[in-house]
């Protein structure tokens, strides 16, 4: 195959990771949502490219899901929630952005190191793709644990999940990718609906997890 094929795939995967870093850096909620939309678009492109390259049309479904569900629907819905809830635009990060970024760098390095060792018979780029996916997963998790706000945690989770989808599509000929992405979408929908429902039922005044934490068990 053409080298360009891999280069494009590689470029897209790298961009996804880059956006992950940007999300880590971004501490404003609406900007974060936009960045996530970008993340999802890049994922959709990447998946579509894989579908095209490997002639695996079912992957287009995954790409469509990524594009419409994650890049459009979810960010819009979350935007609405943010507006409706009128929650502070400033994200309360747990650790400073600088530190988070350094942690993120470390994680990315770790992911690369781990992935470079494996599959010695496959080419370097393929390994790096997997490394990018792993790094995206780790950064997503990092995002989840460094943000106090439920909405940004949801975003973290979704970027984590984007990483897995990236890995899944990168794995040549992997079956059930579509099913998995559908299952994940359901999961995400649940989460979003959950956030949404709690607000509507007015059980929680804010979506800040600290409010939820008041009902941790055994305090009554």
């Amino acid at each position: 195959m053409d080298k360009i094929v891999f280069d494009i795939a590689h470029l897209l995967a790298g961009s996804i990771l880059l956006v992950s870093f940007m999300m880590l850096y971004q501490d404003r909620l609406s900007a974060l949502l936009n960045l996530f939309a970008l993340h999802a678009v890049l994922l959709a492109l990447s998946v579509a490219w894989q579908a095209h390259v490997h002639a695996a049309p079912h992957l287009y479904v995954t790409a469509m899901i990524a594009l419409f569900f994650k890049a459009l629907f979810i960010p819009l819905a979350l935007h609405r929630i943010v507006v409706r809830l009128n929650i502070h635009r400033q994200i309360e990060t747990v650790v400073g952005v600088g530190l988070t970024m350094m942690l993120g760098m470390g994680l990315a390095a770790l992911a690369m190191l781990l992935m470079v060792r494996i599959t010695p018979d496959s080419d370097l780029l393929g390994r790096e793709d997997l490394g990018f996916a792993l790094a995206t997963v780790m950064l997503g998790l990092l995002l989840m644990v460094t943000r106090r706000n439920a909405v940004s945690q949801v975003i973290g989770f979704m970027s984590l999940e984007n990483g897995t989808i990236l890995a899944a599509t990168g794995a040549k000929g992997m079956p059930m990718v579509v099913e998995i992405s559908v299952a994940f979408s359901i999961l995400i929908a649940f989460i979003v609906i959950g956030v949404f429902l709690f607000r509507i039922r007015e059980r929680f005044d804010t979506v800040d997890l600290q409010a939820l934490d008041q009902f941790r068990g055994e305090q009554g």
């Binding site: 781990l114 992935m115 060792r117 494996i118 599959t119 010695p120 018979d121 496959s122 997997l130 996916a133 792993l134 997963v137 998790l141 989840m144 945690q153 989770f157 984590l160 999940e161 990483g163 897995t164 890995a167 899944a168 794995a171 040549k172 000929g173 992997m174 079956p175 059930m176 099913e179 998995i180 299952a183 994940f184 359901i186 999961l187 649940f190 989460i191 959950g194 709690f198 059980r203 939820l212 934490d213 008041q214 009902f215 941790r216 068990g217 055994e218 009554g220």
Partner: protein
């Protein structure tokens, strides 16, 4: 689809699924409760048939072998007894207004979906399918945990949901990595996810990929097993959901997740270059035992108390599987069986207790053996069983775990024993108040059936004294296959 599959392995999945559909449509909790029981019984019958008949050849999706049939059998049995308990229990919840008929309908449908998901996870021959099944099980139980819609219940469900989702995502990444490792050897496509194919070829897989994969899988499915430090969802989910669901969670779902871990352990163990998965499991198991045993001391909610005890026991089982060897594996299987039976029995008892006393707070439940001798002593017996005292079954498995470990790794055995004694101290401390001393108010008779409780206890007690040689031979056979 008009083709009715005749083979039992599909029936195991179809019955719960069909029942769920029917239950979702039927009003009236008495009928649904009975139907629920009936469906569970049918599943159990099919599983027994499945157990007896020769093993079918594995397909790309489903697999019945000697290992998972043990899990399926246990699953269906406890699923059935729990449905019996649930049938007599859940009506009371309706009377007290904690549940509405609509939610009850939902509850019964979800119960069967959960059964379906667990059975699917167990019979699947495909690591992707297994992942999907476990995800369904997670979602179902999340809904069940939150069914009372109190603040605490929703908080517990939310916590469970988030942690479970992250776990699931990690497990998926691990699964993808396994496929990645398999792909160069077994080729692209479905084969790369079929368990039997993977097992056959794993020796040639890339070890480095498998290593990373196992860490993701261990942490992902380990979250569902409730291993410390991934356990946080477990105590709350147990304490806030309906009691039958607590019983199913502790008795079954944890086993299913453990089964998933076990499968990948086997995979790794078959690859000579990969890391030994045992030590990781041993460390996590031991951490869980020690942590959970200390957590028992400060519990104020009785269901949460036993949830921590479940963490402890999953730790013991993980520890034993991690140690490996015929004796330890046998002990782990036995322990798993006994724990499922005992812990669900305890949750049955706790359900009765919280109904008659109207509370789950340990401080408000006092002198149970005096006001409710049968229930009280049943609970005492259950706690003794779970604490590993004879003549109850867990004593046997703990005996085997400890003695077999001590000869190999004395320090680990000592640490385990310390955990066991500390846990016993904690459980007993709480039991003393609950079962003895001057009784607290609440002398109403329990309306739910004692039958499942004492059936389980009788089984556990009988197993403590006498294990049928056939069962043991079977377990030994399975233990041998677990390496």
């Amino acid at each position: 689809m008009t083709v009715v599959p005749s083979d039992a392995e599909t029936l195991v999945l179809l019955i719960p699924l069909a029942a769920a559909a029917v239950l979702a449509l039927l009003p009236g909790y008495r009928v649904t409760a009975w139907l629920n029981m009936l469906a569970s019984l049918l599943t159990l019958a099919v599983v027994v048939a499945l157990f007896i008949q020769p093993r079918p050849a594995p397909s790309h999706y489903l697999l019945i072998d000697d290992v998972n049939i043990v899990f399926i059998l246990l699953n269906s049995f406890v699923g059935f007894t729990t449905s019996v308990f649930s049938a007599s229990y859940i009506g009371h919840e309706l009377h007290t207004g904690r549940l509405t008929p609509v939610y009850l309908r939902f509850y019964h449908a979800m119960y069967q979906v959960l059964m379906f998901a667990m059975n699917l996870a167990l019979v699947s021959n495909n690591i992707g399918l297994m992942w999907v099944a476990i995800e369904i099980a997670t979602l179902t139980t999340v809904l069940m945990v939150g069914i009372y819609r109190t603040h605490q219940a929703i908080e517990a469900a939310w916590k469970y949901f988030i942690l479970g989702s992250v776990g699931i995502a990690l497990a998926l990444f691990g699964t993808i990595l396994v496929y990645k490792a398999a792909q160069p050897v077994v080729g692209e496509g479905l084969d790369g996810m079929v368990w039997t194919v993977l097992m056959a070829n794993v020796a040639h897989f890339d070890a480095a990929t498998l290593n990373v994969a196992f860490i993701f899988l261990l942490l992902g499915y380990g979250t569902k097993v409730g291993l410390v430090p991934l356990h946080a969802w477990l105590p709350d989910a147990h304490s806030e959901g309906p009691t039958p669901i607590s019983a199913v969670l502790s008795g079954l779902l944890l086993n299913v997740a453990l089964f998933a871990v076990l499968r990948f352990k086997l995979l790794l163990a078959a690859n000579p270059q990969a890391i030994m998965p045992g030590p990781l499991m041993v460390i996590l198991g031991l951490t869980s035992v020690l942590f959970a045993s200390l957590m028992l001391y400060r519990r104020r909610d009785i269901k949460r108390l036993f949830a921590y005890s479940s963490i402890e026991h999953m730790g013991i089982i993980t520890f034993a599987f991690g140690m490996g060897g015929a004796l330890a594996n046998f002990a782990a299987l036995l322990h798993m069986t006994m724990h499922s039976l005992t812990k669900s029995a305890i949750f049955f008892a706790v359900g009765h207790v919280s109904q008659v006393k109207g509370t789950q707070k340990i401080a408000d439940i006092r002198g149970l053996t005096e006001t409710h001798p049968v229930l009280g002593w049943g609970l005492v017996l259950g706690v003794f069983a779970i604490a590993g005292l004879p003549p109850l079954g867990i004593f046997t498995s703990e005996f085997l775990v400890v003695t077999s470990t001590f000869a190999r790794e004395p320090l680990l055995a000592v640490a385990l024993v310390v955990g066991l004694v500390v846990a016993l101290g904690g459980l007993l401390l709480q039991l003393n108040g609950v079962a003895f001393g001057p009784p607290s108010a609440g002398t109403a008779r329990s309306e739910a059936s004692y039958l499942p409780l004492f059936a389980h206890l009788a089984l556990v007690c009988a197993a403590g004294v006498y294990l049928p040689p056939a069962l043991v031979a079977w377990f030994q056979h399975v233990a041998g296959r677990l390496g």
